[in-house]
Amino acid sequence: MLGGRRTGDRLRTALSIAAVALGVGVILAIQLANRSSIGSFENSLEEISGRTNLSITGADGIDELLLPRLADMLDSAVKLSPVLDSTAVAADTGEVIQILGVDLVQDKAFRDLTMQGGETGTRDSLLLLIDPQSLLLSEAFAERHHLHDGSQIPLLVNDRQDNYTVRGILKLQGPAKAMGGNFAVMDIAAAQLAFGRLGKLDRIDLIVPPSKLSETESKLSGSLPAGLRAEPPQSRVQQANKMLRAFRWNLAALSYVSLVVGAFLIYNTIAVSVVRRRAEIGTLRSLGSTRGQILRLFLSEAVLLGLAGGLAGVAVGRALAGLALQLVSGTVNTLYVAATPAPIHLDIGIVAEALGVGVVAAFVSALLPALEATAVEPAEALQRGAHERQGRLHSARHAAAGLVALALAGGAALLPPVGKFPFFGYVSALLLIVAFSYFMPLLLLWTMRILDRPLLYFAGIEGQTAGRGLASSPSRISVLTMSLATAVAMMASVAIMVGSFRQTVEVWASQTLRADLFLKPAAQRIGTAATISADAIELVRSTPGVEAVDPFRALDVIYQGSPAVLGSGEWSTLVRHGNLLFTDGRAPIEVLKNPSHDAVVSEPMAIHHHIRKGQQIELDTPAGKFKFNVAGVYYDYSNDRGTIVIDRAVYRRLFQDDTASTLAVYVAPGINAEEVRADLFQRMGKRGYRYLITPNATLQRAVLRVFDRTFAITYALELVAIAVAALGIANAFLAFIIERRREIGILRVLGATRGQLRKIVLSEAALVGLLGNLAGWLMGVLLSLVLIFVINKQSFGWTIQFSYPATFLAVSGAAILLVAVAAGLYPARVAARFVPAEVISIE
């Protein structure tokens, strides 16, 4: 059945398969990209953990004196290993290198640190242990950069650059494979000195005999100091996954839109197929086939379509995955964790899943037309010339169903998220599409009624004929228009959402980023913990022309089981020079009045943890649990985990940490910031400090650049959905023309020229394009409201000010109209080729 007998049929089948393929391909590509984006993080974690089965971690590290206490407390069969886990940046290439500091004398039980060429000489081994600027480098990195035993490598570590000596090359096994080979090991003593972490550890790794695991865990949970946790190493992957969950879910949800558009197409294909074969069905029925057999026949056709589309989709998905991964991992690296993507891996499970999605989508969309096929009576087989029996349109029923769906959509939008996932937001979006599907035939009829005269006036008799032709089969044409409208709506809604978001962020950045210069350590990347030393802060403060410095320290912490950021800055400086936008409209000076006991939280923090102004929150600190009064909630778009900000003096006292992550520098009035910047570079460079010093305007631009990069994948997904819609339009027009060949034949017999026929078909395409655009735009605005105020708010927790990107939507609307007309070109040619006698003789 699939092939059909005519070129048109075959082409239609191919188009349907292509649409399913694109829909499935996009879903698969996003899934693969989502999985690989932090794949290296997962693999690296596995490699780096080695045989560790329990790790003790804390927000700002662990006092190393805990180690002997643990050794005394725990069973002697439990092995303990001190770990510093940090990153440095290769000064020459800017590559981030993960550096693990371990007790190299003892660590063999934990990790495989086999060196190239067996062992190094005694002298090298000794130097590796005692020279604080020594390291072992992964084979992969060493080969890439032609480094060998004894080579020097300049590294940016925190805010300094120093030369380190390669004392051995690690074979590409175990941890050396981590971070794609951007990996080095130092002795714990050297690492503590290099990273300014004397007395501290990032982790204590444990190897616990399996039989003693639960006993050890319970022993630890009762006795670890506040803020420390004992968890299996894999839980760090879970934390990263938790952090990425909202981002990934929404991306996955967005990737299904193409398939939804594709589903309209399959519905259309099958529906047309049913109409076309009424005679065949009638014959089969009169020969004794049951309704069930007919149903199975059409569903099998759909399933075959889905299967073929799914198979092609696997190929498409694999091909698109590279691009998707690039976009996804760009965002992940910018906003979440530093991780090079793992190679894309296509396993049988994921392929089966993609095929399943294709088949199920095809099955579901074919169900309605297939059921309709079972209604064909055997007697119809005898009526030659049976043509589409236009389903009578029950306008009132359609309108009522549409209104119900619309009301349900509104109701779903008001429901809270499930976990952190805006489940009902997506339900609401789907219901909106359902509502419009019901409204569409009515919309079509009304529009054509209204346009009947104008069409005659502007497009002549051909235009009017086109309009009437469309109005004569509202059900079929609605499906066609809906697939276009859905694509348009999706594009419009995402464009409105992203545009509004961008506008909001731009305003936010200009209002809150007030400092003239922003400093960060040269080795600081997202997900890395490079810090600014207290000495460097003093140096900046004492630079002429600097009026004030606000050192901001950001720590990744766990707040009630979820990743969050604990920030600290000088409230007094913030009040005098900086700004925060509080949700209740108060100025910082009214909110930041009580630094010793108060905290302020970002909007995502407040939303995810249901924190209100005036409430108390409790933080784990190295000095024990500490309660803060929440003085306010401020708008923040820098991360969706949520940030708690306390005063720097309180932070320093509780965490015994006087470093900073970034510095906001305010230049005295009348002083040129550019000159201060040059002076800072020179003064700090002389002392071996390496900083990135960004002027205000550059940072504002950088914020928007990051924003655009984040949404690049969203734009890409939209493009694919529109491509699917274009396929859908071509497909549907083709079906429509084939369907209407009788009318067209009659028109030919009645004397219409080929040119006139072409004009009629193109007018029809333009009308469908116009209608699809109109409905899509309407639906898009509604969807964007759901996206902005439900889905985004619930997933990420930020307030977006609605703004309408009029120019963009006008231009894209015109473009879509052109696509629709272009999609009508082929059917127009087909129509023009009809030989009237042949067409009529079928009747």
């Binding site: 190393e64 001190p82 003892q106 086999t114 081994s125 242990l129 714990i188 000195l193």
Partner: protein, 380 residues
């Protein structure tokens, strides 16, 4: 004398002697300057049981022969080594390495003929290893020898475990520490300072428990403790040594060692000590005794040929003995320290002294048979 040539071969940097040695205490080490063993040192216990970080190398050596309630015989070895590292770098980290601590633990199941050994390497780090007088403890991880009580009440609690093997022993010295050679100064080769400070606890009455391959035994027996510290000792032409400790049933003990030279000639720095029933020590020079190999055993692990049976003659004290072992394979092949391969095992001795026959048990140590001993500090 203690095991393992390890450290002796390590001396690549030559230290300046700063030995203005005070009784019972050695000065802390200043960078690049190690103390040397020279005459005039006065031992003071229990202080001198613990570490002397001014010297480059130091070891504590517990060996013994034990018998279970049901008559099963075992040997054990628990050795702690400290090797100083010349570290010129500034680094205030607590993990800074100035000494490396190595330890060996071996159990010989003489009945079933099974030999088990394991080892560990640590830095001092944060209480990871050390030999601290104030804590009365010599330890490496959770292996330890801890002193309890003083004077007549003094005892040592010695503990080690690994997998299915474990010792938990209490040792009471029946004799005062025996200072070897010249008041504890044991010359190893020609030249001032090429010597060690060396004493032993030669008769430690031992009881406790021993776990062998998962099976626990209550045991009693005799142990021996050697403690030696030095900066320079052997000369390049000394290729290894054979050392033996004997604990005789008549209440006497013997310690004898001979250096082997690369050219096979006799080494004048071989030495020994006889301890009578009352603990009085007699120093034996190289010319006072003979040690002759009787049988050799070829190690399947290292290919080395070890003389596992010896005839010992000390004409001056009318002493003749034959030592043998029921378990030839008591060879330790170190994994963390490449090239450190030696034989250290339980032996039985049959002897005559002044015409009357006697017997006893002891430990035999042979080094340098599996090729030259390469440096210890070679963590893989």
């Amino acid at each position: 004398m203690g095991a393992a040539g390890i450290a002796a071969y390590l001396t690549t940097t030559f230290a300046v002697s700063v030995a203005l040695l005070l009784a019972g205490d050695t000065p802390p080490r200043t960078r690049g300057q190690f103390c040397q063993a020279t005459p005039g040192y006065r031992f003071s216990f229990p202080r001198d049981h613990f570490e002397h970080r001014c010297f480059r190398t130091e070891w504590w050596y517990f060996t013994g022969n034990l018998t279970s309630n049901d008559g099963r015989r075992f040997g054990f070895e628990l050795t702690f080594f400290r090797q100083a590292v010349d570290n010129p770098y500034q680094n205030p980290s607590r993990w800074r390495i100035d000494d490396l601590y190595l330890a060996h633990f071996a159990v010989s199941d003489l009945q079933s003929g099974k030999f088990f050994y394991t080892e560990r390497l640590n830095r001092a780090g944060i209480e990871l290893a050390g030999a601290d007088h104030s804590r009365g403890r010599i330890w490496n991880g959770d292996w330890s020898a801890e002193i309890r009580g003083t004077g007549l009440d003094e005892s040592w609690s010695v503990d080690a475990s690994d997998g299915g093997y474990k010792i938990h022993l209490v040792m009471r010295p029946e004799k005062a520490p025996v200072l070897h050679a010249e008041s504890g100064l044991s010359r190893k080769s020609a030249g001032a300072g090429n010597a060690s400070y060396y004493y032993s606890l030669t008769r430690l009455r031992t009881s406790g428990s021993l776990v062998v391959n998962g099976t626990a035994y209550e045991v009693t027996g005799l142990s021996w403790m050697d403690h030696e510290f030095f900066t320079h000792s052997m000369a390049p032409n000394q290729s290894g040594w054979d050392w033996v400790s004997l604990q005789m049933d008549d209440g006497t003990e013997w310690m004898l060692y001979r250096f082997r030279r690369a050219d096979g000639s006799r080494d004048p720095f071989s030495s020994g000590t006889f301890v009578d029933r009352n603990g009085k020590a007699t120093h034996l020079r190289a010319s006072d005794f003979e040690m002759q190999p009787l049988e050799t055993w070829r190690s399947p692990h290292s290919g080395a040929n070890y003389p596992v049976a010896w005839r010992i003659v000390v004409p001056r004290l009318s002493f003749q003995a034959e030592i043998r072992t029921s378990l030839p394979d008591q060879e330790l092949v170190s994994a963390v320290t490449s090239g450190l391969t030696y034989w250290e095992g339980s032996i039985v001795v049959r002897a005559t002294q002044h015409g009357s026959s006697t017997s006893g048990r002891g430990y035999l140590e042979m080094t340098g048979y599996a090729g030259p001993i390469s440096p210890m500090l070679n963590p893989k």
